[in-house]
């Protein structure tokens, strides 16, 4: 059954080709169903391969399928081939599964779009590229997928853009990703120059046999870190991801939450022997990059008002968790978190898409509230996603995050502490989002028109950190608009939500910490990790303490948010004046702490993101432009200038050769 592996990427690719030829003729909704069917087929093929792999004994779970010799390079060559092992098939399983659901969801979400079939065309191409990325048996195949997903991401982010000015988000993604790609490319050539091969099997075996010197392994690992930081939106290359939210929501869910952005994590788990062969400080670098990303992104998320922007920064933050898991040697936990995150973040994104859909394209959370009643399915599933990401047991996010924090504890207390703060903030901003969007129900019925009519007098506006992304004028327009009830989305959209919510609840069962027998994922991935997984010799007491502490953090975050965003609304509308003022007091205190100096900090982080990091990215681009423009004056159009350049060039070249001459 392992021979079927080629089918996994081939099916979405076939879907892509079919849509390329017949897309317009098929139209809506046939094109969408076709694409979904291709993805579903791919999922079934993955399951078949998975079962085939399960059949084999634990140490024989490697299968290499070579399709053809792709790039011949002298006496060595690079094959187009697939590597089936527990790691790649785990990735493929959840990628195809989540992608199928998101395809299905898109059938409803993209309803009525003039470019309906084109959307699915890109989506299928993306899925095919992503599967090539994880299934490829060498770095070049991975790079092919890597470039493919990047291109599709770019196309899909720009999907709704019609003017060039608006496409700058896509451009920024392109530029930062090219920086990352450059790191990957250089790493690839360094590997090639060192061991003369690009296949993972060779890379892994020569890392383990010590054939690759520590300094080379360090170089490869750091360059891959640059590549991974670009693709997985780590500091300082994360700027593109929030902007990428301009694309349709299913795209955000599939590409910018569940699959593509985890490619960097996958890559590091794949080449874990290289990291092991590198100098000792390399994992620390990875861990620090990860934990700082987690922290910075979490603080920024607190200051966002756009429902998707919160999720975008949250994704960056969660990716940071995965990176410091890798840095701490917790490869299983990293993959575990990739999987659980794929479920709950896809769920949250799709839920937010459903909200946006139901609210007639409103994305500002300050204009929502009480949606729980109007969109019961969306609300319920979103709450599941929220509890999962906040780390409330027994939802899946708790188990994976707790495991990461446990390894971090064993690795370095500082990283653990920063990670814990990030976890606290995660619970806080996610609760804030949920309360703002789905709760505050009485205000929805009575106060909202008032609030909308006079937003300046609303306590809301003072406490809320104002995002510069949303102009005040925007808040004011169509005050009556939302009074029309938001509607629940069609079944094609809610069914994926329900399935994902189920997954987000139970996915923790993949790797429960209670007894070693319950480490299903850990045992399953063992052959792919070559004993490089860190061993934590923590006592049960430590484990319980870490777990208990993270539960406390999660609940504290939820509670804080409830105090600020939930209780106040409750007070302000129902309880008498005195308590109302009391509620205000809490608010303003909190505003002074969190939204005062704290908020300044968040704003500073947001400013830093906008000015310094964006500036650096744009700076590279504009540096090229300025340099080019300045040099352009050399191209005078006078033929004598060109002749002069030839003459001067001849003098310089001649001078060089004469220095080599002997007389």
């Amino acid at each position: 059954m392992l021979d079927l592996v080629w089918l996994i990427p081939a099916l979405p690719l076939a879907g892509f080709l079919t849509l390329l030829v017949l897309g317009r003729r098929l139209g809506e909704p046939m094109a969408g169903w076709l694409a979904t069917a291709a993805m579903g087929g791919s999922f079934l093929a993955t399951v078949a391969v998975f079962l085939g792999l399960l059949d084999r004994p634990g140490d024989d779970r490697f299968f290499n399928q070579v399709l053809f010799e792709w790039v011949p390079a002298g006496n060595l060559s690079v094959d187009a081939g697939f590597l089936v092992d527990p790691l790649s098939i785990t990735m493929a399983l959840f990628i195809t599964g989540v992608a199928t659901l998101i395809h299905l969801y898109s059938v409803g979400y993209m309803h009525g779009d003039p470019n309906f079939s084109k959307f699915f065309l890109y989506l299928n191409l993306f899925a095919a590229s992503m599967l090539v990325l994880v299934l490829g048996d060498n770095m070049l195949m991975t790079f092919l997928g890597w470039e493919g997903v990047g291109t599709c991401s770019y196309l899909l982010v720009s999907f709704w853009f019609t003017s060039e000015a608006n496409a700058s988000a896509g451009k920024k993604a392109f530029v930062t990703n090219r920086i990352g790609d450059w790191g990957f490319m250089v790493a690839m050539f360094l590997t090639f120059a060192t061991i003369g091969s690009l296949s993972y099997a060779d890379l892994i075996s020569s890392s383990m046999s010590g054939e690759i010197a520590a300094v080379t392994a360090t170089g490869i690992a750091l360059l891959l870190l640059v590549g991974a930081a670009g693709k997985s939106a780590q500091l300082p290359l994360f700027v593109w991801l929030p902007d990428a939210m301009a694309g349709p929501t299913p795209v955000s869910a599939l590409i910018h939450a569940a699959t593509m952005v985890t490619a960097g994590v996958y890559l590091f788990v794949r080449v874990n022997p290289v990291v092991a062969a590198a100098y000792d400080w390399v994992p620390d670098v990875i861990a620090w990059v990860g934990v700082l990303t987690a922290l910075v992104a979490a603080t920024i998320a607190v200051a966002q008002n756009d429902i998707k922007k919160v999720l975008a920064y949250s994704t960056i933050s969660q990716l940071g968790f995965m990176f410091f898991a890798i840095g701490s040697g917790a490869y299983v936990a990293a993959i575990f978190h990739v999987i659980t995150h794929a479920f709950f973040k896809a769920l949250l994104f799709l839920g937010s898409g459903s909200v946006i859909h139901g609210m007639h394209d409103e994305q500002d959370m300050r204009r929502m509230g009480g949606l729980r009643r109007f969109m019961p399915i969306t609300g319920a599933t979103f709450i599941v996603g929220w509890l999962a990401i906040a780390g409330v047991p027994p939802f899946s996010g708790f188990w994976s995050k707790d495991e990461i924090l446990l390894y971090a504890w064993a690795d370095s207390k500082a990283i653990w502490a920063l990670g814990s703060i990030a976890a606290l903030l995660t619970a806080f901003y996610m609760s804030r989002q949920v309360f703002m969007v789905f709760f505050g129900e009485p205000r929805w019925n009575e106060a909202l028109p008032v609030a909308a009519a006079a937003p300046g007098g609303n306590p809301d506006a003072e406490v809320e950190p104002e995002s510069e992304d949303v102009a005040p004028a925007e808040v004011d327009e169509h005050p009556e608009h939302h009074v029309e009830d938001p509607h629940e989305s069609p079944w094609t959209m809610t069914l994926p939500l329900v399935v994902l919510a189920g997954a987000a609840i139970v996915a923790g069962g993949l790797n429960l910490p209670f007894t070693p027998d319950l480490h299903f994922l850990g045992h399953w991935l063992e052959p792919s990790l070559f004993g490089n997984e860190a061993h934590v010799d923590a006592t049960t007491g430590t484990k319980v303490f870490v777990a208990g502490f993270s539960v406390v953090l999660a609940l504290a975050g939820v509670a804080l948010a409830a105090l600020v965003y939930l209780q106040r609304r409750f007070d302000s509308a129902v309880i008498e004046q005195r308590a109302f003022a009391e509620g205000w007091w809490i608010d303003s205190t909190f505003a002074r702490v969190v939204a005062g100096p704290g908020r300044q900090l968040f704003d500073l982080a947001a400013w830093f993101d906008r000015t310094i990091i964006d500036g650096a990215v744009n700076g590279v681009a504009s540096g090229v432009r300025v340099g080019g423009t300045a040099l352009r004056t050399l191209q005078t159009g006078y033929v004598r200038t060109y002749a002069l350049a030839v003459g001067l060039g001849a003098v310089v070249v001649g001078a060089w050769f004469l220095t080599r001459a002997s007389f």
């Binding site: 792709w70 390079a73 392109f174 030839v646 001649g654 050769f657």
Partner: protein, 519 residues
């Protein structure tokens, strides 16, 4: 008188007896691809001036395509003979023309460029009211010059090939009489071209002075067997030769003419210049430096290194700030020349293979790109600004898709020929331990990617709302069948090489040039 005449005859007979003319043996069969091209040009010119029917539309172009095809077909038996291990490469005319895999592949590529250019020219000439047959005749003659240059085994012959190639191109560039830019392009190309071929000649004279021969084999043997105590003359000669080649391949700082000429010349001619001329020039460069001057590679490698770096970076940087697509492509061709120089700089068999591979891929992607530009330029050959491409995906989705493929290939995106070509080049540089150069090459490809993206964005985005009505429709471009065929051929080649590069890699490996002495 009669007696005197008779005695004169007797003297002549005596001279003939004592010094018999030593006519070299000519391998006509091996020269067939070249003869077809050159003869085809002459015959075409003659016949069409005599036969009225040749004036019918399409006949000249069809004839040119047939000549090109015949030349490619004639290459096949020669290739087989050369690859036959028992026979191997040989010289055709007394040691001055070398027939090896390299020269045959270059011939094939140049003939392919002729075919593509002729297909593009057919409709173009009618559209622009340019009189027919001269262009095709010049095209074929210029191509034969390129073939001579690529197979020259002697510096004199290489110079003759270079001039035959160049002089015809000068005229072709200036052929568009109603476009003042076209004349300017031809004129500028001529001035700088003549200037730099004078440098080239001076270099040949120096090398001849230092080694006592113009034959590449004899030069190589001389340099291998004699350690020159005073090699200043040779060094100067190498420097000037490099200047000459640097001009032809448009390497920085000898590139000044490239953007102006590429922009001003009729677009199908630009397609030919960017493909065939580059192939011929690089073939000459590789033959002279890799083969004849290989002993001195330690001296010329750093110079080519510098040219490669400058070309890649400056070409890409200049290209990014352009707003004229034709000019962008001109600058990007400078950047591509830098990439081929990276491969040449490696100075290894692997490097030469990579260079051949790159050139082969490049011929198709650049000819295809200029083919699209030629169509979008429309009547007057002037609509080349980025704005003219806005909304092309709406009005001509096929054309936009084709251009996208070419641009992605030039950017080096996987599954296109450009990716494998760049991969091979960088692998060759890494193999030759030129790590910094490899890094810079990757950096340049990152910068250049922005440029290709700019064009793609322009084609797929429809423009601001203000001009939405105008631009949603996109430019109204007509696509004549021959041009579509040319673009189709280029697309197929670009994708085929990208997906299955193994075959071309084998061919390129067989086409590494060798020194061929007279038997």
């Amino acid at each position: 008188m009669i007696a005197a005449g008779l005695s004169n005859l007797g003297v002549l007979a005596q001279i003939a007896e004592f010094t018999p003319l030593d006519t070299p043996e000519v391998q006509w069969a091996a020269l067939l691809p070249l003869l077809i091209l050159a003869g085809g040009g002459v015959v075409l010119l003659t016949v069409s001036s005599l036969v009225k029917a040749m004036a019918a539309p399409g006949v000249n172009a069809a004839a040119t395509v047939l000549v090109g095809l015949a030349s490619i077909i004639a290459c096949v038996p020669v290739w087989q003979r050369v690859q036959d291990p028992e026979r191997g490469p040989f010289t055709a005319v007394g040691g001055v023309i070398g027939i090896d895999g390299f020269s045959i592949l270059a011939t094939g590529l140049i003939a392919a460029s002729v075919i593509l250019a002729a297909l593009l020219l057919d409709d173009y000439l009618r559209r622009e009211d340019i009189d027919g047959v001269e262009m095709y005749a010049l095209l074929l003659l210029s191509a034969s010059g390129g073939v001579i240059m690529a197979s020259a085994n002697d510096l004199i012959v290489m110079f003759l090939g270079l001039e035959a190639l160049s002089i015809a191109i000068y005229v072709m560039a200036a052929m568009h009489r109603r476009r003042i830019e076209s004349q300017e392009a031809g004129f500028k190309y001529f001035i700088v071209g003549a200037f730099s071929s004078a440098f080239f000649l001076y270099g040949i004279a120096m090398v001849y002075g230092a080694t006592g021969s113009t034959n590449l084999v004899e030069i190589a043997t001389f340099l291998a067997n004699n350690l020159l105590l005073r090699n200043g003359v040779l060094m100067l000669g190498m420097a000037l030769l490099l200047v000459g080649f640097g001009f032809k391949v448009s390497a920085v700082p000898f590139q000044g003419w490239t953007p102006d000429v590429y922009q001003g010349a009729p677009t199908p001619v630009t397609a030919f210049m960017a493909s065939a001329v580059k192939v011929a020039a690089f073939a000459g460069l590789i033959r002279v430096f890799y083969l004849a001057l290989g002993t001195y590679s330690l001296d010329w490698k750093p110079a080519i290194y510098a040219l490669a770096v400058l070309s890649m970076i400056i070409g890409a940087t200049f290209a990014v700030v352009q707003t004229d697509v034709k000019r962008m492509m001109a600058y990007s061709s400078i950047s591509h020349a830098g990439f081929v120089l990276v491969a040449v700089q490696a100075g290894t068999e692997k490097g030469v293979t990579a260079a051949i591979f790159y050139l082969t891929s490049y011929v198709f992607m650049v000819a295809g790109s200029f083919g699209v530009i030629s169509l979008v330029g429309r009547r007057g050959d002037a609509a080349h600004s980025l704005d003219d491409y806005r909304g092309l995906s709406r009005s001509r989705p096929g054309l936009a898709l084709a251009f996208t493929v070419f641009l992605l290939a030039q950017a080096g995106v996987p599954l296109t020929s450009g990716f494998v070509a760049k991969f091979n080049v960088i692998a060759a540089a890494v193999d030759a331990r030129s790590f910094w150069l490899a890094l810079i090459a990757m950096l340049a490809s990152v910068i250049a990617a922005v440029l290709y993206l700019k064009i793609i964005v322009a084609m797929y985005l429809t423009g601001d709302d203000a001009e939405a009505d105008d631009s949603v429709a996109g430019p109204k471009v007509s696509i004549p069948l021959p041009a579509a065929a040319a673009i189709g051929i280029a697309i197929v080649a670009t994708l085929a090489i990208g997906v299955l590069p193994g075959y071309l890699f084998e061919v390129a490996g067989d086409a590494v040039p060798v020194l061929i002495a007279l038997p």
